[in-house]
């Protein structure tokens, strides 16, 4: 359980970090970006990941901030989850992201783990990508040729794989506001509170004259990436926000999953069942918050 040897760089600026990554890419050296390390370190210890070089962002200035941008929120990639969880701004403006943050790991993990790291790591069981897909988060990537914004719908490619190029670094996350009157919920099931979820749901909806509009349901922990569940969302649009219709949408959510993961901790059928139950609970909870 010791990592294989690697070289280590701790640049002071983002430009220097990008230059290092660009050089290693050119030289064919496998480099990984180290943020908080709370996901990467276990992978190094188990030698699932064996990079030749780590480029640590820990000493890079100016990546640790939470600030308002109009009614949106900008969060620097190296902001810790504890900082996000304790931020009054996050709690007031981004209740879904705030609730998701409190579900990530344990206090010891949130103290070190970064906001940007979780998005860039793209663990399928992570809460953050589901929030990103439900709320259309945007990701600011900085690379050798400048910067670009990547929308959430394009950011997550596959299992622990994002649209980021090898020499690109996720610098900032932009969280647009939830539209007024939006109800939200995030629930997950894990064997031990704080452990990675076997399955989870993030959902938002609005109500107009008692009917559901703008329904968004996203499952995590069941496929290679977090997945929106359009069939279940469609089933609720324009329908009454009541238990009967929530149950029906929840049943569709479970059935519509494409080949859920199966492992020693949870079979595919069990994950389907979790998605069904959690979708129902999330819709009920979101509806109580919807104006």
């Amino acid at each position: 359980m010791k990592p294989a040897p690697f070289d280590y760089h701790a640049p002071r600026t983002l430009e220097a970090a990008i230059a290092l990554l660009a050089r290693f890419e050119l030289e064919g050296v496998e480099a990984r970006v180290l943020a908080g390390g709370q996901s990467l370190m276990p992978m190094l210890a188990m030698r699932v990941a064996r990079p030749q070089v780590l480029v640590d962002l820990g000493k890079v200035e100016g990546l640790d901030y939470i600030r308002a941008d109009g009614d949106a929120l900008l969060i620097g990639a190296m902001t810790t989850k504890t900082a996000a969880a304790e931020s009054a701004l996050v709690a007031a403006q981004q209740p879904l992201f705030h609730a998701a943050t409190r579900l990530v790991g344990h206090r010891q993990i949130r103290n070190r783990g970064s906001v940007g790291g979780s998005f860039a790591h793209a663990d399928p069981a992570s809460e953050y990508p589901a929030v990103a897909l439900v709320q259309d988060l945007q990701f600011r990537a900085r690379g050798p040729s400048g910067e670009r914004w990547i929308p959430a719908a394009q950011f997550f490619v596959s299992y622990m794989t994002t649209r980021l190029d090898p020499a690109e670094i996720l610098a900032e996350v932009r969280l647009p506001p939830l539209p007024p009157g939006t109800g939200w919920a995030i629930q997950e099931f894990a064997r031990r509170s704080g452990d990675l979820a076997l399955a989870g749901i993030a959902a938002t909806l609005r109500r107009e004259r008692g009917q559901c509009t703008d329904v968004r349901i996203c499952a995590f922990g069941v496929n290679a990436t977090a997945v929106r569940l359009p069939a279940a969302e469609q089933a609720l649009l324009g329908r009454p926000a009541d238990g009967e219709h929530f149950s029906r949408a929840a049943a569709i959510a479970g059935e519509s999953l494409e080949e859920p993961m199966s492992c020693i901790h949870a079979s595919a059928d069990y994950r389907r069942q979790l998605v069904r139950v959690l979708t129902g609970r999330c819709l009920e909870e979101a509806a109580t918050r919807a104006a």
Partner: protein
Amino acid sequence: MTTRQRTTITVNGTRYEREVEPRLSLADFLRHELHLGGTHVGCEHGVCGVCTVLIDGCSARSCLTLAVQADGAEVTTVEGLRDRESGRLHPIQQAFIDAHGLQCGFCTPGFLMTTLELLRDNPEPSDDEIREALGGNLCRCTGYQSIVESVRLAASRLRG
């Protein structure tokens, strides 16, 4: 071959400078470079919490932090709990003894450091808050009830 890195870490108030391999965890740095064996190593991949220390005042799993990442940081380990002048145990340590918060003791350093942060930030935690805070630490002996009671006892003694 990898390049060793000069790393300076202040542990329990003493500054240490060492040349280390980048892959060395902070836990192994404490144990093997500084011979501070109080920080135990269990799962080595961030599950059990036994290696919990404070880094710049925040609890962290020292197996999930590289020693080179802690360069320039102030680390507090279980060895730093005891009162240096009187030699007396920290009230949290004494509470764990008095309320039977340990049997074999292997997990105890992690629980103590986790409790230190909890009671600093929240001097009067509810039972739910105590259980939530201890959720990242595993104990295979006690069944947790007496650990929760130890934390409660420590909290009441620290409040005076």
